[in-house]
Amino acid sequence: METWVVSNIVVAVLVAGAVWSGVYVRRSEMWAQAARELWRRSPVALLVVSLYVGIALVDSVSWIGGDGVGEDTVALHEARSPIDRLFADFREESYSAPLAAVTFSGETPLLHPGTHLFGTDLLGRDILHQVLKGARIALLIGGVTSLLAIPLALFFGVSAGYFGGRTDDAVFFLMSVLSSIPSLLLLIVLVMVMDKSTLSVCIALAVTSWVGFCRISRGETLKLRELEYVQAARALGIGPVRIMYRHILPNLMHLVVITFVLMFSGLVLSEVILSWLGIGVDGSWGRMIDQARDELSRDPIVWWNLSAAGAALFGLLLAVNFVGDAVRDILDPRTLRENL
């Protein structure tokens, strides 16, 4: 299947999932209360995150053909998102400063004077367009990695904590080995030995980041399995898989939410470093920053592509960090107890 079809299906699944979780949160008193509290605490950060998510979703929907292609015949056969269509036929010959009317080098007027909000790059591509497209990549990296790492961590952590003994020893050994290797180096090595696609970057990030949450979920399971209701379930003859799924997993969900949000910014930051080493994801803000690095030494200086990508990255991470702090304060029972 074509990638753009897959991407459209993924968007549909994500939207359906979001609606379903929204309904679920409304029904469950605990989650509804937490959501209200989150909105009360950090409305601005939540809105900013939603803006980024919205841009990423809009950019993920794409189709072939339609208008707005202009003279670009190649684009006729490419699947383009609404954002691509917005910026179709919007190129310059080369650099343009933000909102400039004339070209960077000479006095000739631009093709689209005064319209490039963040300027254009060496090839004349609009920076705003690239920055908007970067949102999708950033969320893809954070989202896909978490989707891989969290289930992995839960599987190993819960089974190690619940079964103990040999299983626990094996999982603990695996965690010790992985955490002994500096994570950035392990990440680099993994990306180097795999092919350099977005998915392999996500897999590598997942391998290096699941250990922390595995340790947390193992510890929490160790505590939970000694509780009376779990022992009662065991006494009733309920099998271990069902106990783990019905009685232990739901009590780890708040930790999953906290981990997901707190992990996110670290993942996006790691991708920036990978980009600098030339093994990042195409079109990411990290790649833009890396490419714009040398342009600072041009004369006159080209500062806008670096600043735009840096600001977009900073905005997302700042908002996510604030949401993460609020989520942790709300859902972590330890802090809850201290605040009471």
Binding site: F173, L174, S176, V177, L178, S180, I181, P182, L184, L185, L186, I188, V189, L190, M192, V193, M194, S265, L269, V272, I273, W276, L277, G278, G286, I289, D290, R293, L296, S297, L306, G310, L313, F314, L317, L318, N321, F322, D325, E338
Partner: protein
């Protein structure tokens, strides 16, 4: 006590063996030696040259013990454990010499960075914790989150551009170990290193200190008429140092490894730079040696932490 230390060291040895096995899988089993040879020599090389190169670098044996008694797996273990790292895949230079030369510059950069970061972090955290639940506290936490949201790459580029290129305060990059000029080269990387670390550190230290201020001994101190300042500097700081030291001691092995980005950007020829060069040059033998050394240092550091803990707190040994 002795039994605990022996058990802990034995487990460390097993973990290092696990790391070695993982490295073997990644660097030999997943990456084809022919591929490594071609990356080092280029694509248009006759097969006999590739075979010769593989023989010179010890890549020509079978992978696993069940294929031959003289195999790459045993070779890999034997060479890593005896620190016989061989030659670089990229330029045939002995890796051991390179590491020996790199440790010095790495330490010269990382030790001041570590000390400055720790001192600044603890002082700022104490200050913020003293004003807990006021606007000063909120502003402090806000600044920390701001600092944490900026990529290290942006810090480096910003520092090089503003401080070095526009203001000409320090050289953009470079290194000279002579004692009278070394500080000029180190100022910026140390500054950037402290800036990137302080957000997370101050927040962590602040949480520790704020948690300590709600303890009973603080209330007792207050009841006997102790001033808030003295409580902070005498009681809270002392007790808060236990979790802080754990974090700090675990960071010590990484002093030797330096920082990949800082060293590479500021042209400091330490272990971090060596690693980055190995990555950029597809130099797999140097890269796996560096990963092994970093992991070894980490495991040794962790054993040291655990053993010193068990000396201080006998309960640890029972686990």
């Amino acid at each position: 006590m002795l039994a605990y230390v022996v058990r802990r060291i034995a487990y460390g040895v097993v973990v290092v063996a696990g790391v070695l096995l993982l490295l073997f899988v990644l660097f030999f089993a997943v990456t084809d030696p022919n591929d490594i040879a071609r990356r080092a020599l280029g694509d248009k090389v006759p097969p006999d040259v590739i075979e010769q190169w593989k023989a010179n670098h010890g890549y020509d044996k079978p992978l696993w013990p069940w294929q031959a008694a003289d195999n790459l797996l045993f070779d890999h273990f034997r060479r890593m454990v005896t620190f016989d790292f061989g030659r670089s895949d990229a330029d045939d230079a002995p890796i051991v010499d390179r590491i020996r030369r790199g440790i010095g510059p790495s330490l010269v950069l990382s030790v001041p960075m570590f000390a400055a970061g720790l001192l600044l972090g603890v002082v700022l955290a104490l200050f913020v914790a003293f004003f807990r639940e006021t606007y000063i506290d909120a502003a402090g936490v806000f600044v920390c989150v701001l600092a944490m949201s900026i990529s290290i790459l942006l810090y480096i580029i910003g520092a090089q551009y503003v401080v070095a290129k526009l203001l000409h305060w320090f050289p953009i990059s470079g290194f000279d170990p002579a004692p009278d000029v070394v500080a000029r080269f180190l100022a910026m990387p140390v500054l950037v290193g402290v800036l990137t670390g302080f957000g997370g550190d101050v927040r962590f230290y602040r949480t520790v200190f704020v948690e300590e201020t709600s303890r009973d001994y603080v209330r007792t101190a207050r009841a006997k008429g102790c001033g808030e300042g003295r409580i902070m500097l005498w009681h809270v700081l002392k007790n808060g140092m236990i979790p802080i030291l754990t974090r700090v001691v675990l960071a010590i092995p990484f002093l030797f490894t330096g920082s990949l980005l800082l060293e590479s950007f500021f042209g400091i020829p330490g272990l971090g730079s060596i690693t980055v060069d190995a990555i950029n040059g597809n130099d797999f033998s140097t890269l796996r040696t560096m990963v092994f050394i970093f992991s070894l240092l980490f495991v040794v550091g962790q054993i040291a932490v655990d053993v010193s803990y068990s000396l201080v707190d006998p309960r640890v040994r029972l686990e």
